[in-house]
C-alpha cells in the first residue's frame, strides 16, 4: 500500500496557472521531490496535500484514507515552510510543545519528546532560546523538529532551505537525509534547485506548466531525461542540431543510432562529461574542432569548443587538459547522446 497517493489532482487559478491531472504515488519511508521552475505547480500540489488548498477535482489518500475533506489541523501531515515557521513570542520549548499540548500530552512526556527531538536536529539544550536568537539554519532545524515531533504520516517540505546560503543548505540537506534514514519518515520535498533534488531524493517528479514531465529515480532522470524540457532543466547539457535519416542520427560528422525512430531535424543533447577531446587535426573517427577556452574549475576543467555542429562544452579531468590551449585543433567525440524531436 502507498503511504501517499495523489489521484488526478487538478487545481486551476484565475491567472491561468495551476496543475492538471497530477497522479503521484509515494511509498512508506520514501523521499520524493517535486522539482520544477517557479509557477510549475509544485507548491500547489504540496499545499493541497497539507490541506491549505482545495483542489478542483481529484483525490488525495494518506495511508489508504482520503483526506480531502479534512482541514489542515486534522490531517496526518507535517509542514515546513520556506521561512517564518516559528512563533517569535514563544521560546523553542513552547514552539515545539504547542502541538503536543493540543494533543493533551502530559508535561513529562512533552519535555522528554522535546529533548529527544532537539538532539535529533543537533540543537540540544536550546529549549529556552527564542527564535530571534537563532540563526536561519537553526530556525529551520527547529521547524523540521516541530513537524517531526507529531510523527506525521507524511512530512511536507516547501523549499525549506532555499533562503539559506549554499554551504548551510548542503549541510542541512545531509542532515535531513540522515534523519529520514534513521526514522523512516515519508517525505515530500518541493524545490526548484535540481542539484538539491538529485542529491536527496529517492524519486524525483519533474513538473512543468502544471503537468508532470517525468517521474523517476535521480539516476534515471539524469541519464535518460524523457523530454527536451527535463534535459534542459536537469544538470549541464549541450544542445546541437542533428538530422535523423532512417536508422541513424547525423550530427556534424558523427552518427548515432536513431533509437527513438525520429524523422527530419532533431535536437541532440550531450552531457559535457560524455564528450572526449583528442589533441591533433589528423582525420580520425571524431569530428574536427577548435578549442575556444580552457577553464580550470578545481578537480575538473571546462573546455569550450567550436565544432562543425556549433559550440560545445566538455568537462575533462585535470590531467587531460595539461597540454590544451585556446586555438588548438582537436578531434571531438561523444560517448552518449540523447535525441529529441526538435522544438
Amino acid at each position: 500500500m502507498n503511504q501517499l497517493s495523489i489521484r488526478s489532482l487538478t487545481k486551476r487559478y484565475k491567472t491561468g496557472e495551476g496543475v492538471t491531472d497530477i497522479s503521484i504515488d509515494v511509498k512508506k519511508g520514501e523521499l520524493v521531490t517535486l522539482l520544477g521552475p517557479s509557477g510549475c505547480g509544485k507548491t500547489t500540489v504540496l499545499r493541497s496535500i497539507g490541506g491549505f488548498l482545495e483542489p478542483d477535482s481529484g483525490d488525495i489518500f494518506i495511508e489508504g484514507k482520503s483526506v480531502l475533506k479534512l482541514p489542515p489541523e486534522k490531517r496526518p501531515t507535517g509542514m515546513v515552510f520556506q521561512g517564518y515557521n516559528l512563533w517569535p513570542h514563544m521560546n523553542v520549548y513552547n514552539n515545539l510543545a504547542f502541538g503536543l499540548k493540543l494533543r493533551k500530552k502530559s508535561k513529562s512526556e512533552i519535555a522528554a519528546a522535546v529533548k529527544r527531538v532537539l538532539e535529533l536536529v543537533r540543537l540540544p539544550g536550546a529549549e529556552q532560546k527564542f527564535p530571534g536568537q537563532l540563526s536561519g539554519g537553526q530556525q529551520q532545524r527547529i521547524a523540521v523538529a516541530r513537524a517531526f515531533l507529531l510523527e506525521p504520516a507524511v512530512l511536507l517540505l516547501d523549499e525549506p532551505f532555499s533562503a539559506l546560503d549554499a554551504k548551510l543548505r548542503h549541510e542541512l540537506r545531509e542532515e535531513l537525509r540522515d534523519i529520514q534514514a534513521s526514522t523512516g519518515l515519508t517525505m515530500v520535498f518541493v524545490t526548484h534547485d535540481q542539484e538539491e533534488a538529485l542529491s536527496i531524493s529517492d524519486h524525483i517528479v519533474v513538473m512543468n506548466g502544471g503537468q508532470i514531465e517525468q517521474m523517476a529515480t535521480p539516476q534515471e532522470i539524469y541519464d535518460y531525461p524523457s523530454s527536451l524540457f527535463v534535459a534542459q532543466f536537469i544538470g549541464k547539457m549541450n544542445f546541437v542540431k542533428g538530422v535523423a535519416d532512417g536508422g541513424r542520427v547525423h550530427m556534424g560528422g558523427l552518427a548515432f543510432d536513431n533509437t527513438k525512430g525520429l524523422q527530419g531535424e532533431v535536437a541532440v543533447a550531450v552531457r559535457p562529461e560524455d564528450i572526449s577531446v583528442i589533441i591533433g587535426d589528423q582525420a580520425g573517427d571524431g569530428m574536427a574542432g577548435t578549442i575556444h577556452q580552457v577553464m580550470i574549475l578545481g578537480h575538473y576543467a571546462e573546455i569550450s569548443l567550436e565544432t562543425a555542429c556549433g559550440p560545445l562544452k566538455a568537462f575533462l579531468p585535470r590531467d587531460q587538459v595539461r597540454d590544451m590551449y585556446a586555438g588548438q585543433h582537436v578531434q571531438v567525440n561523444c560517448a552518449k547522446v540523447l535525441c529529441y524531436p526538435s522544438a
Binding site: F52, K74, L86, A147
Partner: protein, 274 residues
C-alpha cells in the same frame, strides 16, 4: 577656549546648539508650569517666584468637582478603550487578512473624521444626538470619543496583524490548532504590541478630549479637560498650572509604560497603506 571648539568640530557644535534649542522649546514651558504650580507670589521681572506655597494644590484638590471629574475621565477613557477594542480589533483583522472590494477605501475612510475641523463635525453629530436623546448622557460622551479613536484602533492593529506571516498561522493549523486557537495563541499575541500601543493612544486621546465632551456632556458629564477650561477662565493661572500637572501625570505614566512596546517600527508600519 578656541582650541576646544576646534577639537570638537563644527558638526558637534551645531548638534549641541540644536539640542539646546530643542530642550528649551520642549522643557521650558514644562518647567514654567511646575514652578507656577508651587508659587505663592511671582511678580515680573523676577526670574524665580518670590515665595512658594501649596495653597493652590489644596484649593484644587478640595474642590469636589475636580475630584469627581478625575474619576469620570478615567471611567470614560476605560469604557472608550474597551469598546474601541471590541469594535476595531475584528475590523483590523479583516482589513489585514481578507481581500474584499474597496477594502482600501474603507480603511482610508477612517481618516475622514480627522480631515474636518473637529467642531464642525461635533456640531453635526450633536444635532443627531439631540434627536436620539443622547445629549448629556454617558453614552453620548463615549460615542463622541470613539469617533476620534477609530483610526488608531484600526490602522495600527491592522498593520500588526499584517506582520504575522501566513506561514506562521499555517504552521499552527498544521500542528493541530483550529482557526480560533490559531488566532488566540499565535496571531493575537504576536500583534499584541501594536494593539497595546493603539489602546494606550486611545486611552490618552479620550482622557484629553475636551471639545466634543463640552458640547455633548454639559452639564452633567464634566471630564478633567472640561473642568480645566473653566478653572483656567475663572481662577488665577496658578490654579491652571496645578490642574495641568494633574492632567499630565497619567499621560506620562502611560507613555512610560508604553515605551516598552512603542518602537519606530510599530509606529511607522501603522500608517502604511497596503
Amino acid at each position: 577656549m578656541m582650541w576646544y571648539f576646534k577639537a570638537l568640530g563644527k558638526r558637534k557644535i551645531i548638534e549641541f546648539i540644536l539640542l539646546v534649542i530643542f530642550a528649551v522649546f520642549f522643557m521650558g514651558p514644562l518647567m514654567n508650569l511646575i514652578l507656577l504650580a508651587f508659587t505663592g507670589k511671582w511678580q515680573y521681572p523676577a526670574a524665580l517666584p518670590q515665595s512658594w506655597s501649596l495653597d493652590w494644590w489644596k484649593f484644587v484638590l478640595a474642590k469636589d468637582e475636580v475630584v469627581k471629574s478625575i474619576g469620570l475621565s478615567f471611567l470614560i477613557a476605560a469604557v472608550v478603550t474597551a469598546l474601541s477594542i471590541l469594535i476595531c480589533i475584528p475590523a483590523a483583522y479583516a482589513f489585514a487578512r481578507i481581500r474584499f472590494p474597496l477594502s482600501r477605501m474603507f480603511l482610508f475612510s477612517f481618516l475622514l473624521t480627522h480631515a474636518f475641523p473637529k467642531m464642525g463635525l461635533y456640531v453635526s453629530i450633536a444635532v443627531l444626538f439631540y434627536k436620539l436623546g443622547l445629549m448629556n448622557t454617558f453614552a453620548g460622551v463615549v460615542l463622541i470619543h470613539i469617533v476620534n479613536t477609530l483610526m488608531f484602533m484600526t490602522w495600527i492593529p491592522s498593520s500588526a496583524f499584517r506582520n504575522v506571516h501566513q506561514a506562521q498561522e499555517e504552521s499552527a493549523r498544521d500542528v493541530g490548532a483550529s482557526p480560533f486557537r490559531v488566532f488566540w495563541h499565535i496571531t493575537f499575541p504576536m500583534a499584541l504590541p501594536g494593539i497595546t500601543v493603539a489602546s494606550i493612544f486611545t486611552f490618552l486621546n479620550s482622557l484629553d478630549e475636551a471639545q466634543g465632551t463640552y458640547l455633548v456632556g454639559i452639564p452633567d458629564f464634566r471630564t478633567m479637560p472640561v473642568v480645566m477650561y473653566s478653572i483656567i477662565s475663572d481662577y488665577p493661572s496658578t490654579a491652571g498650572a496645578v490642574f495641568s500637572i494633574i492632567l499630565t501625570l497619567p499621560t506620562i505614566v502611560l507613555l512610560l509604560a508604553a515605551q516598552r512596546f512603542v518602537t519606530a517600527d510599530v509606529m511607522s508600519s501603522g500608517f502604511q497603506m497596503k
